[in-house]
């Protein structure tokens, strides 16, 4: 790792943000980020299938337990965001897959062999899949497609789905305007999901490269804090991507089921007592 970082430091800070072709299969150009994505997918599949065969009721610890914690965390998160947990249970596999894909992609992308340290000609041979806008845009588009299809199916038809954009009667011009605005905001979600992931990963890469360059022969020492920060950011971004996708779906599905049985916000629906953290009870009203 030290040697590779010194190579970066001596050649000046240069980060290739655009993907570059490494292979040519027929008319399809395989870019470095695609190659990395495929390797990553293979790695994740092998590791997670291997793990799935070794899960026991009494945990033995080690790597398997960490995977279990991750799966449990995300599946609880997805189930709890839905009013009806049975609906949420159906979409757990998709979101767990997305979470682990982004997590492993980001973490493996921090290895010195990925990125500028390992070149073929003038371009890196492998680039993080999430550090390429094409990759994250595809992920954002797939996620939003799943969200749209699922929310139309769960809310029972297109009309019911469109109803959740309107807070009141659509014939009221104010509510109509707000509803149309909501629909427009909905379309920007693909871009915001993909840009957030792409920029976080790419800027992390730039940050590490710049500090490795500034450190000169102390490159490992100056780049280490930022690499550790990136480990945290990578996990956070995987979490954010998953929970935003879940929330987009949950808002549409929960809103639709709320419309079915008129929302009641009168005094009877509000509990008279509420539990405080210390276990005391406070009354209000």
């Amino acid at each position: 790792m030290i040697g590779l970082l010194r190579v970066i430091a001596s050649s000046g800070p240069a980060v290739h943000v655009a993907p570059a072709g490494v292979l040519q299969i027929g008319s399809l150009t395989v870019t470095n980020s695609m190659l990395y994505g495929w390797i990553c997918t293979l790695f994740i599949s092998i590791v997670l299938i291997w793990t799935a065969h070794r899960v026991t009721i009494k945990p033995k610890g080690g790597f398997i337990q960490y995977v279990e914690v991750g799966v449990d965390f995300i599946s609880n998160l997805v189930e709890d965001s839905f009013d009806n947990k049975k609906i949420g249970r159906k979409y757990v596999p998709f979101f767990v897959t997305i979470f682990f894909f982004i997590l492993f992609n980001n973490w493996l992308g921090l290895l010195p062999i990925v990125g500028e340290g390992f070149r073929r000609g003038n371009f890196p041979l492998l680039r993080p899949f999430t550090g390429d806008l094409n990759g994250t845009l595809a992920m954002g588009a797939v996620t939003m497609l799943v969200v749209y299809v699922a929310s139309i199916r769960e809310s029972g038809g297109l009309i019911n789905y469109l109803k959740h954009f309107f807070v009141g009667n659509p014939l009221n011009p104010l509510f109509l305007f707000i509803g149309l605005l909501e629909m427009l905001t909905d379309l920007t979600r693909v871009i915001s999901l993909s840009l957030r992931l792409f920029l976080n990963v790419t800027i992390g890469e730039i940050l590490i490269t710049v500090f490795a360059y500034l450190g000169h022969f102390l490159a490992p020492l100056t780049a280490l804090p930022f690499t550790l920060l990136e480990v945290l950011v990578a996990a956070l971004q995987a979490y954010i991507f998953t929970i935003l996708g879940t929330m987009y779906l949950a808002v549409a599905v929960n809103g639709a089921s709320e419309h079915a049985d008129k929302t009641d916000l009168t005094d009877e629906a509000v509990p008279g007592t509420m539990e405080l953290a210390g276990g005391e009870r406070a009354t209000h009203g």
């Binding site: 920029l199 954010i240 929330m247």
Partner: protein, 77 residues
Amino acid sequence: MTFADAAINTTIISKGLILGGGFIGPGIGIGLVGGNYLQAVGRNPGASKFLLGQALIFVAIVELFGLLAFASIFIVA
């Protein structure tokens, strides 16, 4: 020599303005999110676990605009 004669590197100036201006907003935003999170946890310590997830989501949403500003300095030529 007048001021107009000196070669002014407008690229550097614009990059500085983008970075300076673009980082103010997210800085304030993350400060507000963090401050209000601490206030909420101070009021109800039991909700800290639930609120942390919510706070992180909003940090990520706010952070996007800072990242956009950072990314756009590479477009300026």
